[in-house]
């Protein structure tokens, strides 16, 4: 009934988006700039949706999400390179994505340990630290090409493989939104809202904290593989804390705990700097101002009242009942 309608609407939206992008690409209407943005947009949607699980739903600040992405990207892309001539493209990509996800999830478990003991900004620093450690390690590893980067990655996840990338992105969105609407997701949200109360009603807090980190890591790892297979080259420097912060910005701008918001913010923030290219020298300045303005608007009384008016019906119903 209510749920069914939602599913249908969402499926329709997904279908329309897919058809529109496909149509535009095939019809040759889209500029090359826009076409080259298709995969990055999908990658950042995956990144921000997965991070929203940790930041928006678990309520822990993570400044190291790009590290998970890099682990996934490197392992998956190494696999892609190794199997380039052996396996069919799709099989190789599918396996690479899975392997990347698993590798990142394993790191997620490692990070899970401090997560159990630390909170808030202390945890944030530790995630940032892990990110920098991973980056340092990649910089000094030979197999990944060190600072020179891992190049010659087959370009198998560009807009030409949009269908694959899109399905993967949908999958990530679907899994995360399913999860947060389940008993496991509720447990995660309960920890965010009040962990003492969550413990008191029998939620194994530690287990769920790790779970959230691991799932988010897995998805970031998958996104990393797509990122690599779209660019053809991976460099450790691209996964530093600035990259993590960019993703965090998307999650927060989208509104914490809102998957839809995370998606929209990821799309906007990936496209915005590109759309601002016309402003040449003022590009990043305008970007910064836009970011600040969006944050201020999102939290303005005006916006609050807008949302509240939407909830007014419910409130009116309630106050009638109260009388």
């Amino acid at each position: 009934m209510k749920i069914d309608k939602k599913i249908i609407v969402n499926a329709l939206i997904a279908l329309v988006v897919y058809a529109a992008v496909m149509g535009l690409v095939k019809g040759g209407v889209l500029s090359r700039q826009m076409m080259s943005l298709i995969t990055p947009v999908c990658v950042y949607v995956m990144m921000s949706v997965s991070l929203s699980l940790v930041v928006g739903f678990l309520g822990e600040l993570s400044l190291g999400h790009a590290a998970f992405m890099s682990i996934g990207a490197y392992t998956g892309c190494l696999f892609l390179i190794a199997t380039k001539d052996i396996l069919p493209v799709l099989v190789s990509l599918l396996l690479a994505v899975f392997i990347g996800g698993v590798a990142a999830a394993l790191l997620g478990v490692v990070i899970g340990i401090p997560v159990l003991r630390l909170k808030g900004d202390y945890l944030a620093i530790v995630t940032l630290g892990f990110g920098e450690i991973i980056k340092s390690v990649f910089n000094s590893l030979k197999i990944t090409g060190g600072a020179k980067g891992l190049s010659k990655i087959p370009l198998v996840a560009t807009y030409k493989n949009f269908t694959f990338v899109f399905i993967l992105m949908l999958l990530v969105i679907l899994l995360v939104s399913h999860l947060v609407n389940s008993r496991h997701g509720r447990a995660v949200c309960a920890i965010r809202d009040n962990y003492i109360a969550a413990e008191a009603v029998g939620i194994p807090v530690s287990r769920y904290k790790i779970l959230a980190f691991v799932i988010a890591a897995f998805m970031a790892g998958m996104a990393g593989v797509i990122y690599g297979a779209n660019l053809g080259i991976l460099k450790p420097a691209n996964f530093d804390y600035n990259a993590s912060i960019e993703i965090l910005v998307m999650v927060v701008l989208g509104g914490m705990g809102s998957i839809k918001g995370s998606i929209i913010a990821a799309v906007i923030l990936t496209l915005l700097p590109e759309l601002l290219r016309g402003a040449s020298d003022y590009r990043m300045l305008i970007y910064a101002i836009a970011l600040i303005s969006m944050m201020l608007f999102n939290n303005s009384a005006f916006k609050r009242n807008l949302t509240e008016k939407r909830n007014l019906k419910q409130a009116e119903k309630l106050s009638k009942e109260e009388v």
């Binding site: 080259s36 020179k148 010659k152 779209n230 660019l231 040449s280 990043m284």
Partner: protein
Amino acid sequence: DEKTFLLGGSGPLTGAAASYGTSVKQGAEIAIQEINDAGGAQVGEDTYKFELAFEDDEATEDKAVQAYNTLMDKGINGFLGCTTSGSCIAVAQLSQQDGILQITPSGSAEGCIEPDNAFRICFSDPEQGVAMADYAVDTLGYKKIAVLYNVADEYSTGIYDAFTAEVEAKGAEIVDAESFNTGDVDFNSQLTSIKGTDAEAIYVPAYYQDITYITKQASELGMELPFLGSDGWDGVLKTVTDPATVEGCIFTSPFCASVDDEKVVNFVKAYQDAYGETPDQFAADAYDGVYAFKAAMEEAGSIESADMIDAMTKISVSGLTGDPITFDASGAAVKDVKFVTVKDGQYTYVE
């Protein structure tokens, strides 16, 4: 008939690496101004004036790809880029599919010119590393050398790898290999460690920003070891507060802003008039890159990339960074490696 050749370019204009991209852009602008003032390029019947479309790529690969595609949307006829190696490699894959002539002014990693359509003006990293190793061991006679390089930077590590291999092949010794990270400003620990060894010289393959800190801190530590460097050193004199700190250093460089060559003098003057600062090697590379385009189209008699690419190996450019510069089949520039030193606070070529 007057037509326009739209030259694309990309490099970091914002972020920590912004100065490199800015130099490339400005160097190219000077060359274009000069060519256009002189009547443009003569291609068969037509005269072509140059126009530059330059995009910010923040020195990251994904932005570079987008910058390149934006330029392709604008319909560029040739691509002068990217400024940094990683971006260059990422874009080269695409430019190869497009079959467009790509000349990178400063992308020094080996992978930058792998596709047939890609050429470069600057030295390759291994080339430089080997050249300096040969010079240090054979000419200067050093037997024990310490190295300080940027572990997070492809340029620095690329040269470092080649340098180390060559030094060891020649029977000399790398007594200490210290490293740092992009953005570091304090090198005292590494320098102190090197100070504690019996090294006869320090080789620092890095850009002048880092060098500024390193040489100053070395002099504060009372180190008197001679410094050897890579072409990234060029420009160091404009950022040090005390030229004495770099006095006597020797670095590989194809370009030297203060030599007496007429071309160089004119370029430096034009650049200073336009931007109020002394050009560095990035600017010079870009300048030569633009002239390579001019030479290629004139040689080919066409601005079709396929024709220009064929012509590349036939041209000879009399540039700032080499005279002549020619290109081999691999896409690399063939030019002499020169060694520059700082003497009395001025750059001069080592005889």
